[in-house]
């Protein structure tokens, strides 16, 4: 699921710190705005926009953090609005709903652990590529040189 790969160049200390911060940003946002699925995406997006002109290593990891958050937004939003409709509308709790929430928790937990691991590794300057998201980031984020 997670691969350690050789980056095209050796990132400096400052770059590793910034790249690691992009993952930390989403972690902090998850803790702060837990029930709202949009908060962590917004935090990562703001950090991404702020680092658009940064070095390749930083941009690459900001993009990976953003792309991963984007897909989580869909499943989290669906779960969030389903819960809201149960609380405030006529929807009732079904086995299907509980199964969905458990699936969402499993995926979020996996993403949470992967984010912590990646934040630690990128801080050391190690390039970590995620399953699917890493390949997707390679297409979106290109080296300027």
């Amino acid at each position: 699921m997670i691969q350690i790969k050789q980056f095209s160049y050796e990132p400096s200390e400052h770059e590793a710190e910034s790249a690691s911060s992009s993952y930390l940003m989403s972690l902090i946002a998850i803790i702060v705005g837990l029930p709202l699925p949009i908060v962590n995406l917004l935090a990562t997006l703001i950090f991404y926009l702020g680092n658009r002109k940064s070095t390749y290593f930083v941009r690459w990891h900001c993009t990976q953090a953003l792309v991963s958050q984007l897909s989580m937004l869909f499943i989290n939003s669906y779960g969030f609005w389903w819960t809201i409709s149960i609380i405030f509308a006529e929807e009732t709790i079904t086995s299907n709903y509980i199964a969905y929430i458990i699936a969402v928790i499993i995926f979020n937990l996996t993403e949470f652990i992967a984010t912590i691991y990646t934040a630690i590794q990128t801080r050391k300057g190690i390039h970590v590529e995620w399953w699917f998201y890493g390949a997707l980031t390679n297409i979106i984020c290109k080296s300027k040189s």
């Binding site: 709790i93 509980i98 199964a99 969905y100 699936a103 390949a135």
Partner: protein, 84 residues
């Protein structure tokens, strides 16, 4: 590009597969949702009934109670059928 599409499809399938597999378990029974709902309804009903009893006059006329009970039973039966 093909590799990314396959990986993306696997990720989506994995999520829906997990959901589908988990949906096979009767979570309502596992978490005793019905029992908790019934208890909450009863707990909420008690103070409401107390308020109604203190503010309104209770009519214990046998014929009237019988007529209303038959209507309530009919409504509840239809509601249960619709739910099932």
């Amino acid at each position: 590009m093909k590799k990314i599409i396959i990986q993306g499809a696997i990720t989506i399938l994995l999520f829906f597969g997990t959901w589908f597999a988990l949906a096979q378990i009767d979570w309502i029974k596992v978490f005793k949702v019905q029992m908790v709902t019934d208890k909450t309804e009863q707990k909420l009903g008690e103070p409401f009934w107390k308020i109604i009893k203190t503010t309104e006059k209770e009519n214990k006329n046998f014929h009237l109670v019988n007529a209303i009970e038959s209507i309530v039973t009919q409504v509840c039966k239809t509601d249960l059928k619709e739910k099932q």
